[in-house]
Every structure is written in C-alpha cells, then in structure tokens.
C-alpha cells in the first residue's frame, strides 16, 4: 500500500480504508443482488418473492451487508465530495457527526423495513 495516498487523504486514514473495504463488499454483494433479484427473478418481484429469499440466511447476510456497507460508502463518499467545497474545523466536525447520525438512523430504518420478512 502506498503510504502517501493514506496520509494525504482529507477524510482520515481509517475512513479511507473502510471506504475501500466497503467498496469490495458492495461489488460482491451487488453482483449477487442484481443477478439474483433482478435477472433470475425478472418479472417476479413481489412481497412473497422477497419473503422467499429472506427465508434463506445467505440473503439475510447479503442484504444486511449491502445495507451497512451501502450506507457507509454512500455517506462517506458524499462527505468526501462535500469536503472539497470548504468544510474545515468546526463545520467539518459537524458535517461528519451529522452524516454519522443520519447513517445510524438510516440503518435502523432499513432494519425496520426488513423486519416483517425476517420475523415471518
């Protein structure tokens, strides 16, 4: 790993690394999601169709991996974009915590959205 890239990242080393880790999770998870949900089940999408998939632990793991990695990658990505437009010091801290709170809330909401299928 080239040290310079990590040290020069405005977003911080660990967030930089986590952005790469979630990228790999998303590439693999979205590959499964798109092919299984939108090609193999083309025209079959329904509440019952989703229930059938989420009865399998594999798809529960894939969906929660996509939910968590997706929310992190999206919000950290938006943060990196916004940091190019003049956030620093206090405004940078507030932006980071605001996005973090939004991410936690979105993960909670996403879990609630999946709950009826998980408990069926």
């Amino acid at each position: 790993m080239r040290q310079g890239v990590i040290e020069e990242s405005a977003g911080g080393m660990w967030l930089w690394l986590l952005q790469r880790v979630t990228a790999v999770v998303l590439i693999l998870g979205l590959g499964v999601h798109i092919v299984v949900t939108h090609v193999l089940n083309l025209g079959e999408l329904s509440y019952e169709n989703v229930a059938g998939r989420l009865a399998m632990p594999f798809f529960v793991v894939v969906d929660f991996a996509l939910l968590g990695a997706g929310i992190f990658h999206a919000l950290n990505g938006l943060r990196m974009v916004l940091l190019d437009y003049g956030f620093s010091g206090r405004s940078k801290t507030m932006l980071s915590w605001g996005l973090f709170a939004f991410g936690v809330a979105a993960f909670g909401y996403g879990t609630w959205a999946l709950w009826p299928w998980l408990t069926a």
């Binding site: 790993m1 080239r2 590439i27 974009v81 959205a113």
Partner: protein, 132 residues
C-alpha cells in the same frame, strides 16, 4: 507538479486534464446519484413494513412498467461504471497499473458498454414480451 509527483498522484483528483479527469468526474457524478438512490431504495423497500404485502405488490406493478425498467437501466449504468472504475482506483491504491491509467479507463468504458448491452437486451426483451 514535478514529473515524479504527477506519476504517483491520486490519478484524476486534481489533474484537470484528459481521461483521468473524466474517469474522476464520472465516478463522482455517478457516486452522488447512487448515494441519493440508495435512500430512495430503502424507502421503497420500507413500504412492505408500512403498507403490508398488498400495498407493496401494487407499488411493484408500477416499478415493473416499461418507464421504470428504462430508468433502471440508467441506474445500472451508474452502478456498473462506478464499480468498474472503483476497481481501477483500488488497483492504483495498491500501486498497480498507475502508468496505464488511460488504458484502464478505456477498458472500464468498454466493459461497461458490453455489460449494459447485455442488460439492455434482457430488459427490452422483458418489456416486449410483457406488452408495453
């Protein structure tokens, strides 16, 4: 910027020129679009919990209409480009193929076009067989 720094700089970011710039700009625009889509997607899926099976299925009849399938193709194009260029960026971070970044950009574009052609065929066949 010295020649040495230019060769090892985070390709695309700040180099406002050529293929690297377009790769970076497309990545950023598709990234923002996908971030916004993600939260719309979570809301759509939450209609199952909010309105139950019947409301969810009614909504999906609309989402499987030709208009939304075509919109899905634009969404997929953003996903495919962002994923493939993301792999290109990951390679650079590992120190691989930085000097061949332009070639890799065109490889990303070519692979995106091929993948999208396959999905366009699948989607348009579906629309045709279900009577638009």
């Amino acid at each position: 910027m010295s020649q040495k720094h230019r060769e090892t700089a985070n390709v695309g970011a700040g180099l406002w020129k050529g293929a690297g710039m377009w790769a970076w700009l497309f990545h950023r625009v598709s990234g923002v679009a996908l971030a916004l889509y993600l939260f719309a997607h979570i809301w759509v899926i939450s209609r199952g919990a909010a309105t139950g099976a019947e409301g969810f299925n009614t909504m999906f009849e609309t989402l499987e209409s030709p208009l939304f399938i075509v919109l899905d193709l634009f969404l997929l194009a953003a996903v495919v480009y962002h994923a493939l260029n993301g792999i290109r960026v990951l390679l650079f971070d590992l120190g691989v193929a930085i000097r061949r970044q332009k070639t890799l950009f065109w490889a990303v574009i070519a692979a995106s076009v091929v993948i999208m052609a396959v999905f366009a065929y699948i989607s348009l066949s579906f629309i045709a067989s279900h009577g638009a």
